[in-house]
Symmetry: D2
Subunit: 314 residues, 4 copies
């Protein structure tokens, strides 16, 4: 078991850094820590760490990796051994602001990064007059897609200390989506099962304090004529209870803004909420509003940590 | 020209008064003034008049009539003559709380009611602890459907003093929807053209002060398992700018909740906003979210004022 | 009777134009139409006219004049005669964007400006991504101070067509404050009686759509270290029902942001709401929160229209 | 070190159970689990445990005790020994829904209750149509008063695992208030130093999702004519960043509603925020609004766990 503290950051691939900065920072309000070569480092209002969303210039959209912070620096060496012993790809890796980290791939093939120490630049919590866009607070969760869902869940539970808060069953009562947490929010990780186009990355999500910020995101993007970017919502999820909206950037990477989910106060008393197929109507969108086909079928590929190239899809 | 003061109320047909009261009052928060026989009289928080929405027990859904208040009592006799001279059906009519009124049908066949004096019961503006549901403030506008749109607009302009704030053109640049106001809000009346199922009544709308109330309406209906009632939204209109959501009652009558539209400060400077067909994407929903087919094709019939029976549709 | 259409704009005196622009536009979000010499012209999001708030460079704070738009161009000449015949000071006057206007002083000595035509530049209603600060929508009302309250009210009623919506009585049951409207909002004008420091100008007010914008104004000013500018609120008024907050600029001119008041749907049925002295606790702030002494005793002087100099106070 | 999981509940003394139920449940929206004899058991929308606020009928206002949940059942026996060895009063105690618990007094004399298992009744998260009042979500924190602040902090740190997020210094640079957390919210506990009227209990706090709920609390209480109950706010705290409002019940017990504070993502990187005396203006209320004298000087006594009687104040 690797002692994970929390989800930390996401590195996504964009083809045009300036357009991406315009989207994520100028319009939506993520704070730019710095730009360095082919990378732009962004963070939320409440985040003091160097970055929680990194835009990496690349040939096409996709996930580079998902970063997690471990609870103690000793965990990194332990983790390297443990992951190796599981037959998973793992290698040392640095980022800007992080001198000591590990890149690895989960059983499902999702690239992840573990680290203990990241440069700290300070948060912008009380600088209200500088806040703009949707006032994104901090990274909330990630959502990815694998072929073998149960195996991936088992890995996250057994080796990263996550537990399931809620699940979806399909019409054969087989688990099709799982929500997991460690910190105690409704979830930090959501995983879907898909026989094709996996491994894949569906979206990362930022918390906002107020559903009004979610609404404002739609107003902002529409008035900037980016209707193609407004994919789904605003709505209320049944699963996790949160208010949501999903946007697509210029490369079709997907980002969610989210608010008002719950805290798992007593993990020992939490019975995993099981949403059956006959609850289909209101489990994803609590109001029963239809889900766009694009949201159900489109997501981006992930990188092979050895090459940095996107993994092909089957 | 009949000197109209404002849109006043709507009388709709419901098959089950108790279920309708549950929907409009218990869940959504319209205030019940009284129930009397086959009628339930409702109003908004800011409305002191006896009723702004009347639920009338009938065999099926539909519009009984739309009520307008005239500016002076003398207008009623004038109106009777004027409407008669236009060859329109007109007859004296009373409501509970209104001893002296006129029922008539517009050229398009929409039943309307004119009156000067309605019983006044007082508003609930400052009784915040009693407010519930979506905190509906007051009736905002009505939306109906006719065959000959231009003729209906001409009647409303010439004889009722309305003017157009915005219009939609179809792919042949023919006017297909018109928004009109007198009081100065973005609109009190919206009219669509349809060759079939007309005359018809699409919806009435109540103002709420806060987009949060619109959101709450969805939460309330969904948690009460009335997903069938949540038809469209929440969203932001391009035309009129307002935030909106559309619900359907147990008989499929449609009601909208609406907020944050504009005021026409200078009617003389207002150039009718023309939305062309190539703006289709964002003119109805500013965010470009798709419009449910039901919203585009379903609405209710209207009564024949002579018989009280619904007019058949062609 | 001068046929007034509506309250239009306010011209206030500031000692430092750049600091004032920073306050009203950069921080609070009023849109700058242009700067021209000693004047900065601002407007709200929904306003298409050239200006609704003008910052005029001067030696000290104060009101230059309050602008009203008349309903027809013919009203100006009529007004000039009528005002002259009442023995009031009146003179022709131009502003940037307004070639034909009248400056006059009310019986109480308040400088007002009447015009029919102002340059129209277009509104920013749907440019959501450009909106900032508190998202001020449009000028809502003005509040000024005179010695002889009843005389001023009589003038506004008889010659400008206003009517009283609400009043305060003091402990001797004498009217001490009056709220008046013409357009139908809760009020466009509020007048207080004061034996000293009159005539004076207490504040102008902008509508915002959402109480969240009122809150944000406090966050913005406080984070910009302008605690001296946050004078009173946020709160809810009993009189007029609106949510409010009052700020003071660098020269101590006062501005209010306001939301969720009512509409007078039936002026003929509206009984002036009389707040007696024993309702003191909740008539100004509905929640009974104390009123800062500065709000009760501080306001700015007004200009003498003949000289452009501030009138001395007695 | 007792392995505390989290703050759990508060038991306060009220003289009239029906009036208290009216205040906390009918008006403010806390959900009543049950009433049993002299006790009313309340909880928030997101809380599935039997109670988070207990109203206990007594001769006067005050704190009965603050409840904490331990992480494992074994902790109770460990705790009993540890607390005894520290010379603190400790005794076995039961509550309705809790068969096995420990009552003890901190060094400062604050009564606390430790337990592992409480009856679980289920939460009301998704029952939106039943939510009312301010939609209180869950117990957020408690605030109490002791003579020897440093000693109390040391106890909470060393024996209950809390750490300081923020502190206030007085004009002599001596610590005067401390905010502590374990779960990772801005704080679960705030402690003030006072030479008189200690030990005392200042308030407990419930989270709400939306600052609009905080505003609504004021509207609700004022419209129910309970202006005496609206003590301080709404405002934004500098310390903890949260939006707040403070109410007083019929016995003058104080409750706060709170929203939008921060999460301590990295406890190891968190440097305790030190607010010095020259930041007095904006450290408690970020907007610099004055603090009512009652808030600074009034709070309620606490019970002696041996007798159940209130401790006298010196």
């Amino acid at each position: 078991m690797i002692n994970i503290l929390r989800l930390s950051h996401v590195v996504i691939r964009v083809t045009d850094l300036d357009k991406a900065r315009y989207f994520y920072s100028d319009l939506l309000g993520l704070i730019e820590t710095e730009k360095d070569g082919d990378y732009v480092y962004l963070r939320g209002i409440e985040e003091g760490q160097h970055h929680s969303l990194v835009l990496k210039k690349a040939s096409s959209a996709g996930l580079s990796y998902i970063g997690f912070r471990v609870a103690k620096s000793e965990e990194l060496d332990k983790a390297k051994e443990e992951l190796k012993s599981l037959g998973l790809k793992v290698m040392k890796y640095k980022e800007k602001g992080v001198d000591d980290g590990l890149l690895f791939e989960t059983p499902g093939g999702i690239p992840m990064f573990l680290y203990y120490d990241m440069e700290y630049v300070g948060d912008s919590r009380l600088d209200f007059y500088k806040h703009k866009g949707v006032n994104p607070i901090r990274l909330a969760h990630v959502n990815f897609v694998v072929k073998d869902l149960e195996k991936e869940i088992e890995f996250l539970k057994k080796y990263m200390g996550y537990y399931e808060t809620e699940i979806f069953l399909d019409s054969d009562n087989v688990k099709t989506v799982s929500w997991l947490t460690k910190r105690g929010d409704s979830h930090e990780i959501a995983i879907s099962k898909s026989s094709k186009n996996s491994p894949g990355f569906h979206h990362e999500t930022y918390y906002v304090h107020d559903v009004k910020d979610i609404i404002r995101g739609c107003d902002i993007l529409a008035s900037a004529k980016l209707w193609d970017s407004i994919e789904r919502g605003p709505g209320r999820h049944g699963v996790t209870e949160g208010y949501y909206v999903y946007f697509r950037d210029f490369d079709k990477n997907r980002i969610e803004f989210f608010s008002s989910d719950y805290i798992v106060l007593d993990p020992d008393k939490w019975k995993t909420i099981v949403w059956t197929y006959d609850q289909f109507r209101y489990r994803s969108d609590f109001w029963g509003r239809p889900i766009p086909q694009s949201w159900l079928t489109e997501w981006v590929p992930v990188e092979d940590i050895s090459t940095g190239n996107l993994k092909g899809w089957s």
